[in-house]
């Protein structure tokens, strides 16, 4: 018997001035927890007829703790399309095809997300289908081995892009203990070994494809009554697991690190300058402050971008990357340099900019403009039920509730220029830094 704990969280559309200023996610939603730990988030929207089903599993490449086993969260994303006890992969494909569904999945360091967008009349059939693979995935060894080659194919398709390798080396250099040392696709040698790891693959599934790791988002032309009924009906018997991965903490970095990567094909040189940053939080200001600094210091209207890209034209690409992660990850600035002889100059200018914001406070007007930019960027993205579910999925992966979006934006509103300077001082230290360069070097025959 399933006991449902229904938590109705209706975010007010019109409310007090203070609430208006702090809430970003505008849709009413409900959250329901099944007894087995599965969570359902229902977001009725007024986009007619369509439903977006996003299933977020809190397992990504971060969960790959055994040496030699990088890339298995992503491999699992593939295996989930290889059939289950009650549906062969062909039968599953036919159901989704008849539903006119857009269906796919993605994996990153922290989560794996499965999604379908389809007409509302197919909701029952799609939920039933999804429930089967999440609880009763079944793939023969031959299909497993074949699918591992599709993963190699995915590695191959990205292998011509120097930034794939740059990112791989950056993480392997910056992290020595934590699983963020490997990328989501995994190391090539581990991918090549995947065909030999059929038994391990079952272990991975049994660990993480469990209700306590999983949240279902249903957005669109739906009611809570209907989504809850179907979730209970098809996912209610799913057994809770008991595995908690022992993800090693990364010890504090005690020295600056660097790596130089030579690339066999002609390319403009790349430069990645990273500092170990704080983990995601909707309560502590650390990450929120640096989130606000990133576009101010390195965005397209930053002083640095305007000088190096627009005026001096030393670079054709400059951007920062600082994702939300449950454990500390990297605040990285990437630059593609037009002329190799400018590499040192560009490196010093980027480092000087990091340093500058440990000394100076950000102009308040610029900070407010950045808050405005974040708000409008979020609003502009929310233009379909699928976009709403897709926008929520990363936050569900972190905190399993849409409310964290509003808490985060409330935090952004509280950040002061002084907070930003303090966080820059705390995190942008020499001992916290990793620099990786990638330059063309003709292969020696």
């Amino acid at each position: 018997m399933i006991i449902t704990v229904a938590v109705l969280l209706c975010l007010p559309i019109v409310t007090t001035a203070q609430q208006k200023e702090t809430q970003l996610f505008p849709y009413k939603y409900t959250m329901d927890d099944l007894e087995n730990g599965l969570r359902l988030v229902t977001v009725p929207t007024d986009y007619p007829n369509m439903v977006a089903l996003y299933i977020v599993v809190q397992a990504g490449s971060r969960n790959e703790v055994e040496p030699g086993k990088s890339g298995y969260a992503h491999l699992f994303e593939h295996l989930m399309f290889r059939g289950s006890e009650n549906y062969t992969s062909e039968q599953a494909d036919t159901i989704l095809k008849r539903a006119g569904a857009e269906s796919n999945a993605s994996t990153n360091a922290d989560r794996t997300t499965y999604y379908e967008t389809f007409s509302k009349e197919d909701l029952d059939a799609v939920m039933k289908l999804e429930a089967d693979r999440f609880q009763r995935l079944k793939y023969p060894e031959s299909a497993y081995k074949t699918e591992s080659l599709a993963v190699l194919g995915e590695y191959n398709k990205d292998s011509a892009d120097p930034t794939s390798k740059l990112d791989e080396v950056l993480h392997a250099t910056a992290f020595k203990k934590h699983t963020y040392a490997h990328t989501t696709i995994g190391f090539l040698e581990d991918i090549k070994d995947m065909p030999n790891q059929y038994n391990y693959s079952h272990q991975f599934y049994n660990r993480f494809y469990r209700p306590e790791y999983t949240t279902i988002i249903l957005a669109g032309d739906v009611t809570r009554e209907r989504t809850l009924e179907l979730t209970q009906k098809y996912f209610g018997e799913w057994k809770r697991g008991n595995y908690v991965p022992d993800i090693p903490a990364e010890p504090p970095q005690t020295e600056p690190r660097s790596a130089n990567l030579s690339w066999p094909a002609p390319t403009l040189p790349w430069l990645a300058i990273a500092f170990r940053g704080p983990a995601y939080s909707d309560e502590k200001k650390d990450k929120a402050a640096l989130d606000l600094l990133a576009p101010v210091a390195f965005g397209s209207n930053s002083e640095l971008y305007q000088r190096l890209v627009l005026k001096e034209q030393k670079l054709d690409t400059l951007y920062s990357s600082f994702g939300n992660h449950p454990n500390p990850e990297l605040f990285t600035v990437f630059a593609r340099v037009k002329d190799p002889k400018d590499m040192d100059y560009v490196r010093e200018e980027i480092l000087a900019t990091f340093k500058r914001f440990t000394d100076e406070t950000v102009d308040l007007e610029k900070l407010d403009a950045t808050r405005s930019r974040i708000r409008y960027a979020f609003a502009l993205r929310m233009n379909s039920s699928a976009a709403i579910a897709n926008g929520l999925a990363p936050y569900i992966g972190l905190r399993r509730t849409p409310d964290t979006v509003n808490k985060l934006f409330a935090l952004y509103l509280q950040v002061t220029p002084e907070d930003i300077r303090a966080m820059a001082n705390q995190y942008f230290t020499e001992n916290n830094r990793t620099i990786v360069t990638l330059t063309y070097e003709r292969a020696k025959n």
Partner: protein
């Protein structure tokens, strides 16, 4: 401000529920319009000029693209580009640009709260460009580096596809990449850009697309502003069906890379305006629906054999497929192509995979599709239209495309066409349009000479698997591994990567 933003989003969804979107072609104005007015707080612009790289003068390939990028990524007479970026920043807005053969589009979405500010910038960017030399140097460098570095040396599958388009249209106005040629880009001047702007950015070539919750009076304001473009005469040039020499021709791009990318295709006479369009769209979806596991080729090459990450087929030009789940709008063309995209494979499986694609394609042409496949694919497409038009941005883009092709603008129209379609019509369209006599193939691989030798001599290309395969697959493989691709030795050419896009 923020509270209004939230309420606006709520209104947006209400609007869609009431189906208050409408489309109209402005009849009373000289400037053509496609208007989809609603109460969404988001306002989408799509400013379309019926010009593009097919109008690049010979020797000045790339001027259409540089002109557009100068407008979207350069300053106006009163604001430099830095000031424009600064002004866009708090609105999280931008002006995007895309140049194809016959269409150039500037697009962007703003929250209605920022409409006046955003529009003021957009208007000046298009109507009053600054044409500064420092902007020109930057955007020209960007274009050349895109071709020379990013595409030629950093993305084998997009390289293979774009080069395929080049050779399908050899000697045609569509031949060069829409960004230009590396050699001609280096020679282009700001004067060339000014001249292109003067001649092609005219009222006669302009279509204004607007969607969302703009005030009713806003259209008049836009019309009054954009009427300042010179009158001009509409680009009515006819682009002929490309004249390709008979036979299969193969170009193998020699590049030091770890995998082998393959693209193949040929021109077809069918566009969305054609009676046979629904039939061929169904064929492409059945044979290789983009980024879907629900297609025949994907099932045979990836699912059954694990050859690569995916395999797709198209009856329209579909650029940037690596990055897109659905087709970009504003790629309307008089001439279209059939195309098969084989994602990178291990080099030792390159020839086998090419043969497998040919084997399956020949089978499609010979046998057509089954009734069951026809019914299932039709059912898929009748619903899939709703996926394609989920957003205001997509609705407006595809509506402008429908206007170009002269077809009704709605999913209902496509559903109606599909519902009338018969299996016999589909198989007749396959026999009529899917040819094998003028196939063009591009392969990107590191051992180009070895690949060429094996292909020309029709050497067997046996494959080994890491797991047992069903007898049906093994039997089929014995046929595929020696499947003959009829190509003359002189029609298989190795191309050094440094020569591509020159």
């Amino acid at each position: 401000m923020f509270g209004r933003l939230l309420r606006g989003l709520k209104l947006a969804t209400t609007c869609l529920m009431l189906l208050c979107v409408f489309t109209t072609a402005g009849a009373q104005s000289k400037i053509a319009t496609v208007l989809q007015h609603g109460t969404s707080p988001l306002v989408t612009f799509r400013i379309l000029f019926m010009t593009g790289s097919a109008f690049d003068p010979v020797g000045k390939e790339g001027v259409a693209a540089l002109t557009a990028s100068m407008l979207a990524q350069g300053g106006t007479r009163t604001l430099n580009y830095q000031q424009i970026v600064e002004a866009m920043y708090p609105m999280a807005a931008s002006v995007e640009w895309q140049v194809d053969k016959e269409m150039t589009v500037f697009s962007g979405t703003t929250h209605v709260e920022n409409l006046d500010r955003y529009y003021g910038l957009l208007k000046d960017m298009l109507l009053d460009p600054g044409f500064r030399s420092e902007d020109f140097t930057r955007v020209r460098d960007d274009a050349a580096n895109f071709l020379k570095v990013s595409l030629r040396q950093g993305n084998d599958e997009e390289l293979g596809k774009e080069y395929l388009y080049n050779i399908i249209y050899a000697g045609h106005a569509y031949a060069h990449h829409s960004m230009g040629k590396i050699g001609s880009l280096e020679r282009l001047t700001l004067g060339d850009v000014r001249e292109f702007y003067r001649n092609h950015y005219t009222k006669a070539n302009l279509v204004i697309g607007l969607a969302g919750g703009y005030p009713e009076s806003f259209v008049q304001k836009v019309q009054a502003d954009f009427v300042k473009f010179p009158e001009g005469t509409a680009n009515k040039k006819r682009f002929d069906f490309p004249k390709l020499s008979a036979g299969t021709h193969v170009q193998i791009i020699n590049r030091d890379t770890r995998s082998t990318a393959i693209s193949l295709g040929f021109p077809i006479e069918v566009t969305r305006a054609s009676e046979e369009w629904p039939a061929l769209a169904l064929v492409a979806s059945y044979f290789g629906q983009h980024r879907s596991s629900n297609s025949y080729l994907y099932q045979r090459l990836r699912e059954a054999r694990g050859l690569n990450y995916g395999d797709y087929a198209y009856v329209e030009y579909f650029p940037r497929g690596m990055f897109r789940m659905t087709p970009d709008p504003s790629l309307g063309r008089q001439q279209q192509i059939f195309q098969i995209w084989i994602r990178p494979v291990e080099p030792e499986n390159g020839l086998f995979t090419l043969r497998a694609a040919f084997y399956e394609y020949d089978k499609l042409v010979r046998d057509g599709i089954s009734r069951e496949a026809f019914e299932t694919t039709r059912e898929f497409l009748m619903k899939y239209g709703n996926i394609l038009t989920q957003t205001q941005v997509a609705q407006l883009g595809y509506s402008l495309d429908s206007r170009y092709y002269g077809i009704p603008d709605s999913n209902a129209y496509m559903r109606d066409q599909l519902s009338k379609l018969t299996l016999e019509e589909v198989n007749r369209a396959i026999r009529r349009y899917l040819r094998t006599d003028r196939m063009r193939i591009v392969v990107v691989t590191k051992d180009a000479e070895g690949f060429r030798n094996a292909l020309v001599k029709n050497l067997p290309s046996p494959i080994t698997y890491n797991s047992p395969k069903p007898k049906e697959i093994m039997d089929e493989d014995t046929v595929i591994q020696v499947y003959r691709i009829n190509v003359k030795a002189e029609d298989v050419v190795v191309v050094p990567v440094e020569r591509v896009f020159e």
